[in-house]
């Protein structure tokens, strides 16, 4: 079972895996391992097709391209596990940029302005969560409405014009544009690598949330709620609070991403992030999150967005026109979900045989 491994795989001793046979047969580990293989295979093929592909520069660009989005993917994965969804993430990312940017232009220091931007995003999350939990509307339709509302607010605040934030102090721009040297020459690497700060922030977020999702009691309740909401209620879990928390968490992480984008671009365009939600949901689903809730892993979701990024980069290097890139990305999503579904039904059938 995917959640079983999501929760326990890394911690289970090899001997126990042998004994139960659950480790290697587990679909989640197969999925994550499979995703990794696909990504590596793609890299090998591309290294023959384009001499630039394996360069550090290209790798860094690929990592950069998905690291900030990856923070939103983390939030979306948690949300999918609890059985909800958020279509407003693209708008909320932009909202954080625009609010923080406006606050900065009004004379507030950039760090405080960033906190204001993140708080504004969290407020959007609180509003959505209220409609979902207090009134009982589906998160799909609530977040669809907020996607439009928040985008409208972004345009209203900026009068439709991008905010120019060149005056951001270098200390702040560093979190979006700076790099730290990574000296691995003692391990036999040829050069000192300049690792962008955003990638480090992304890695910290991923590691922290991967740990939390597997171990923290709060996130365990997320799995219970998503797996069977009624059974969770009948276990004394206040499922509405859990859902509220997840929705606000996703919006807050979108806010964090928005602030990082602002630092990286030194600008706040009110049309930024249109269509971002689709890429993010696709990544989480390719990585094994189920729209029915109850399953999903951070590692899988990150591999999902990495795969989409490698594909995009490859298609660009191969001079495939952007329109066709979309077609191919869609096909990959469809293939991933189809394979997953087929594996899942077969596994169910096996489970039934064992139960009988």
């Amino acid at each position: 079972m995917s959640v079983a491994s999501g929760l326990n795989e890394e911690l289970r001793p090899a001997a126990a895996r042998e004994a139960t046979g659950g480790g290697w047969r587990s679909i989640a580990s197969m999925r994550e391992f499979g995703l990794l293989l696909i990504i590596l295979a793609l890299c090998v093929v591309m290294s023959f097709a384009s001499p630039y592909f394996l360069s550090w520069g290209n790798f860094r660009a690929m990592l950069m391209s998905f690291s900030i989005e990856g923070i939103v993917v983390v939030g979306m994965t948690v949300l999918l596990i609890v059985g909800a969804i958020d279509l407003s993430v693209g708008s909320v990312v932009c909202f954080a940029m625009v609010v923080a940017g406006t606050a900065f232009l009004a004379g507030i220091d950039p760090w405080s302005a960033s906190l204001v931007g993140i708080a504004a995003s969290a407020l959007v999350g609180i509003a959505m969560a209220s409609f979902v939990t207090a009134i009982g509307l589906h998160s799909f339709i609530v977040s669809l409405a907020f996607m439009v509302i928040v985008r409208g607010l972004c345009l209203a605040i900026t009068d439709g014009r991008p905010l120019s934030l060149f005056s951001l102090p270098p200390g702040f721009k560093f979190i979006g544009q700076g790099t730290v040297p990574l000296d691995l020459r003692f391990l036999g690497f040829a050069q000192v690598y300049d690792v962008p700060v955003v990638i480090l922030i992304f890695l910290v977020v991923v590691v922290v949330f991967d740990l939390l999702l597997r171990k923290a009691t709060v996130f365990r309740k997320v799995f219970y709620t998503g797996s069977n909401e009624k059974a969770a209620q009948y276990s004394g879990i206040r499922t509405n609070r859990v859902k509220f928390f997840c929705i606000v968490l996703c919006s807050t992480l979108s806010g964090v991403a928005g602030v990082l984008y602002m630092a990286r671009f030194g600008a706040a365009p009110p049309t930024f992030g249109v269509g971002m939600e689709l890429n993010i949901i696709a990544a989480a689903v390719i990585g094994g999150a189920s729209l029915k809730g109850g399953s999903g892993t951070i590692l899988g979701a990150i591999l999902g967005i990495a795969l989409l990024s490698v594909v995009s980069s490859s298609l660009t290097l191969l001079d495939v026109p952007p329109v066709w890139q979309d077609v191919i990305r869609g096909v990959i999503l469809l293939a991933a979900v189809t394979i997953d579904h087929l594996l899942h039904t077969r596994k169910r059938a096996r489970g039934a045989v064992r139960a009988g």
Binding site: V3, N8, T20, R220, K230, Q233, G236, G351
Partner: protein, 504 residues
Amino acid sequence: MPPLALEVRNVSKSFGPVRALDGVSFSLRKGEVHALMGENGAGKSTLMNIIDGILRPDGGEILVDGRSVEIASPQKAHELGIGLVHQEIALCPDISVAENISMAATNSRSAWLMDYRELRQRAGTILASLADIDPQALVGELSISEQQIVEIAKALALDCSILILDEPTAALTEREAGKLFGIIAQLKARGISIIYISHRMAEVFAHCDRISVLRDGRYICTEEVAATTQEEIVRRMVGRHLGDIYPAKNPGSIDAPVLMAVSGLSDSDRVRDVSFELRRGEVLGIAGLIGAGRTEIALGICGLNRLTAGKVEFEGREVTPRSYAESIANGIVYLSEDRKGAGVFVDLPIAVNVSALAIDRVASAGFVSRAKEQAQAKSLADQLRLKRGSLDDAASTLSGGNQQKVALAKLLSVCPKAIILDEPTRGVDIGAKAEIHRILRELASGGTGIVAISSELPELIGLCDRVLVVHEGRIAGEVSGDELNEEAIMRLASGLAIEGQEAR
């Protein structure tokens, strides 16, 4: 002797090893209202589903108008003029009455386009003879009794000559039921033969011509209503011995100190002014017909349903809960009757299931400790003799009985002082059932208060020290000691005893 509309000869049906029907014969005269009675699980629904073509019999013969027929599908049943009105209302709430009534008829027509005018006229004609319902109203806007009438109209739209009504009054108030009986009399006058399934003695004796009784999948008898009594029928329905081995009871519990006292419990739906006491070390049963409000009483006590009145006292202090979490903290836990829907997380590992009720017990500083979680699951699994592979296997890999043990282990993980179990052995095989009974009795011996809700009378009688009987949301009475038998429970559950009191 009037001619027979329907005759069932020697029909049998098994589900796996369970024999649901064993050589049942039954005949329905033209134009009669024939009651079919029996306890839950006696085989009534199975027999009706066979007559309606939903299930195929393993053996036996069915004759309609004297001709042997094979009813392979509900559609075939329609062609033969058989209409079944299910216990649960199965209408589409968002479309009109007329369209609902013609649903099955539309399905068997080959025209591409709907003729709405004809549809409305037809529905109007059928409804006109039944009740004053607008064919263009949406079904969702009707009351439950009106929906019941639409269900009947739907069956009549297929020109049925045999109408089966499966507990049609279960969801109706007395006045609404009265209307329904008027309609039944009308249909009877039109020559339609009716099979009427109900648990309510009074209405059966007032409105039916004959009564057939099933018990344990076997045909017991058919009596003319005029020639029998309610007592006689109850005796026929339950007359069997307790062949099972149940654990020894605890007669001393009658005098044990009170653990939980419930007083004046009411909710907005089913529960009306329920009061009772649960003693330490006692296994208290709650009996009643399906829909009588047994589950709702349990949900109210545990804070899973909102109460409108009443309070729960536990170990002498008031603990009326506002949420189930609060109830768990007080040591009162509930096992749902719906194992797959609300009892276990089928996709999650066994160990993760067991810790769901109190995740903090296996965690430190907000992080789940895998070692503690596994140790807890292992100790409870051993205590309950759970047959399993790994504790990391999903609960779905277990049999029904073992899944139920997982659900039970989940409750025991918080060391509860009172456990309310709703149908604790439903869908569980006999071996696991006896084990669950043993476990419950052991828990009671350890001082835990056990409340067991069950539709199975032998289970209640064999397991419980005392049984409360619920009738239409109220406690109709209590039976214990030598009086604890099926007859006494059925009398109370069907409202017989109360009616008797009123008459006095």
